[in-house]
Symmetry: C2
Subunit: 158 residues, 2 copies
Amino acid sequence: MSTYEHDPVSHSVAHHLVAIAELLEEYGYARVTDVARHLGITRGSASITLKSLEQKGLVTYDDRRFLGLSEAGRQVAESIQAKKAVLRDLLVRVLGVDEKQAEEDTCKLEHLVSARTAERARRLLDFIESGSSEARRFLAAFGRFRKDGTGGTEEKGR
Amino acid sequence: MSTYEHDPVSHSVAHHLVAIAELLEEYGYARVTDVARHLGITRGSASITLKSLEQKGLVTYDDRRFLGLSEAGRQVAESIQAKKAVLRDLLVRVLGVDEKQAEEDTCKLEHLVSARTAERARRLLDFIESGSSEARRFLAAFGRFRKDGTGGTEEKGR
DNA sequence: GTTTTATGTTTGGCCTACCAAACATCCGGT
DNA sequence: ACCGGATGTTTGGTAGGCCAAACATAAAAC
């Protein structure tokens, strides 16, 4: 999940950085216009925000105005992307939220989750994917419970 | 979890409404100053925001300036509080996040979570509290896994 | 009853984050 | 070489959300 809790980065900044990272990965380049379109804002707005991010040392400008991420920027983006992936997986694989809804929710929550909580969520997913019988049985039982409101093997009480 | 997804209420508004609800519950009354102190903002800021909430029909003013919630305001506050409770419980009881951290995180996330996702989370908690053997064994195994990185009863693979 | 003190409001200012629209610049096609 | 469309920047404006500080008023204390 990577250390760096320097994230106190704003919602907007987080989205700009992640946009660049995603565009770079998907198309190999990212320009002001691409970021703006990706985020659904105007080029003017993106231009200004990105310039400020350059001055903060998070974003780099190519000789031909192609955008990149500095080491710091890359770390912030990666940390947010990692949190986002964990959250999405948690919602989909454990809670059973549908993909579309999960994507929507994680976009809103991604940069707000603390590193510690994200770490715990990742741990849970690791456990689920460990394939242990407890995990498998739990998921199966919860799946049934979601549908018909019963916990399968009872033994309720406490 | 209550229907009402009219929540597209801002972070700030959400906090003001919840503050009033909490103050009413805890002390039986809520004034501008109390809300301001509760939120850690100045009375001036609270005064302005609360006035706008009155005009939106969410907050009511007593004859002696005591604050209340309209039916609509109460519903919004309750819906957010319910989401918050679910999230906190999820973090603490399932993920094993410590109370303090969970409180911090939920404060940031509470009003952003969709009703559908919150409903799923509540369902998971209901299942956990059903006391079914799958749930109990799962929690126990995950607890061990968190500590020593092993899933207890293996049978891994898939 | 007058003076503190607590409470509420208003004002002016700041910062973020956005838009629209004018402007500047570049780049490809002919 | 020129023009048009795509791209980037700047400018002026709006809105939310906050503060500080001046002000007004209500409640306590004396």
